[in-house]
């Protein structure tokens, strides 16, 4: 059974794209075929993490949305990102990247012209089917707008990445409530960039009480993560790091 997983955050800078790339790679290393759709235009762009040059991108998601090509034509095979893992990836593992340059103006126009959920949903479903994907990860645009709501609506799972600050706490509450109304089957949280030391249990308890959704994991603010920055996919560079262990658990929860 294929899954669509959206990774969202209320504000930029939560490390959402990094988390998405890592979850996709960790899932693929488990012998899965995964796709990553980048709909986040304000962040550096998830393709950078895969060492993917912007000039290599000929067609992208919006070309599909404008009817210029089939959805599967926008997918780039970046399975080579799995090379160098301590455990060789099973032969069936695949990572596809669907880059996007969905500018806010364009998406607004698409929406204004009556572009509907079923169409994007069909696009994603086609992608899943044509590429025989086990999991499709959607790296969403930060904030709540029409495009993110679409992603949330069509997802089987929603992972909200947040930092331990008041604005993120407030924004996450709104996103959780909207996801509930959209009947997204699975909603989980990932608290990122937490300044150590922290009381994991107390945070878990409080987040649970506030949102009534499970906390999939807590990631500390890590010097190793900061040092790597956008230089690669963290779990490939630090396979034995505690952060990688947590991300692996999160991938399992979303699995």
């Amino acid at each position: 059974m294929s899954k669509i997983v959206s990774i969202h955050s209320f504000r930029g800078g939560t490390g959402k794209s990094n988390v998405t790339a890592n979850l996709a790679v960790l899932t693929a290393l488990g012998g899965k075929r995964v796709g990553i759709v980048d709909t986040d235009v304000q962040s550096p762009g998830i393709h950078v993490l895969f060492g993917f040059d912007e000039e290599q991108i000929q067609v992208c998601l919006n070309d599909y949305l404008w009817g210029r090509c089939a959805i599967e034509e926008t997918a780039y095979d970046v399975t080579s990102a799995l090379v160098g893992a301590p455990v060789t990836a099973p032969p069936q593992s695949r990572v596809f990247l669907i880059p996007s340059s969905l500018r806010p103006g364009e998406i607004a126009r698409v929406l204004r012209e009556g572009y509907d959920v079923t169409r994007l949903n069909d696009g994603f479903r086609n992608l899943v089917e044509k590429l025989e994907l086990d999991t499709l990860f959607i790296d969403t645009h930060p904030g709540v707008n029409e495009e993110t709501l679409l992603s949330i609506a069509i997802s089987d799972s929603l992972l909200i990445v947040l930092r331990a600050d008041h604005q993120d706490f407030q924004g996450t509450a709104v996103t959780v409530d909207l996801a509930r109304r959209l009947e997204t089957p699975q909603v989980v949280l990932l608290l990122n960039k937490v300044l150590p030391p922290y009381d994991e249990e107390a945070l878990d308890r409080q987040l649970n009480a506030t949102y009534q959704v499970p906390l999939a994991g807590i990631l500390p603010l890590s010097e190793d993560m900061v040092r790597l920055a956008s230089g690669g996919v963290f779990c490939m560079h630090h396979p034995d790091h505690p952060i990688t262990a947590t991300l692996r658990r999160v991938a399992g929860i979303l699995g």
Binding site: D116, V117, A153, I154, A173, R181, E183, P197
Partner: protein
């Protein structure tokens, strides 16, 4: 033996004196190389600051062959509270890894009524002045009130004699605690003697490390407390208002309807 005697007259140049002096210097060298520097290195590594603090007290005590040692911490309300207490003769180990609380009340640094500095107690004096105090015999010391010590002695049958009291200064030169060693003993005879002046700089170095360990520990504790007290606060009215604003749009309702249809279809 006369070959190693110093040529200056009037000095104690006996071979015995020299032997003891060399042994003392060797101990000091050993303490710097094997205790002070490794403690400093340990401090650079993360974790276990609380244990490090205890290790520093134990090492300072061993260095002076002292029978007892106390570590006081300065509290936010201007008192010195007992954090660690060790006494070999009495077999007492309280605070820290012992897991046992210390029953003694904290020592006020200022008189609660007059507000005057409490310089009568040697530990509070060291904290207030930032000076190291080396006392050969508490019962004969002038200027300090050792009534607490005497009361303790009369209850336990102990005889507190020599004290070496060293303030713990933090990076900002503020005294954040006091390290106190009790009853130095002659290594050969075991009799209680005064603390040799030569050991003071080494105990002061250990105290500086203890202060640094304590600072890091307190900062981490503060952060831990901050995290424990980190409340996930969400403005419920604002939450409901923002959700309603979005949920009431035609777009959202259409999306909701289609998403439901889609799920029913795939189910």
């Amino acid at each position: 033996m006369s070959a190693i005697a110093a040529p200056l007259p009037g000095l104690d140049t006996s071979a015995e004196w020299l032997r003891r002096r060399v042994a003392e210097l060797e101990r000091h060298f050993h303490a710097v190389v094997h205790v002070v520097i490794p403690m400093g290195v340990a401090l650079l590594h993360s974790g276990g600051r609380e244990q490090l603090l205890e290790a520093i007290l134990v090492e300072a005590k061993d260095l002076c062959n002292a029978d007892g040692g106390t570590l006081y911490l300065r509290t936010a309300d201007d008192q010195l509270e007992f954090a660690l207490l060790r006494n070999d003769t009495l077999g007492i180990a309280l605070g820290g890894s012992s897991g046992l609380p210390i029953p003694y009340p904290p020592l006020p640094l200022h008189d609660p009524v007059s507000g005057l500095p409490n310089e009568t107690n040697v530990a509070t004096y060291a904290a207030l002045t930032g000076r190291t105090v080396n006392i050969a015999d508490a019962y004969r010391a002038e200027g300090f009130d050792f009534s607490g010590t005497r009361a303790f002695d009369s209850q336990t049958g102990y005889r507190a004699t020599s004290f070496l009291t060293v303030p713990l200064r933090n990076g900002a030169d503020r005294v954040i605690g006091v390290l106190q060693l009790l009853n130095a003993r002659d290594r050969e005879t075991g009799t209680v003697v005064s603390f040799e002046a030569g050991v003071e700089p080494i105990v002061e170095s250990l105290s500086a490390l203890a202060a640094a360990a304590l600072e890091v520990y307190l900062r981490e504790e503060g952060l831990r407390r901050q995290i424990r007290e980190l409340h996930v606060r969400v403005d419920a009215d604002k939450r409901a208002r923002q959700v309603a604003e979005i949920a009431e749009t035609d777009y959202f309702q259409e999306l909701q309807r289609r998403a439901r249809e889609m799920r029913q279809r795939s189910a």
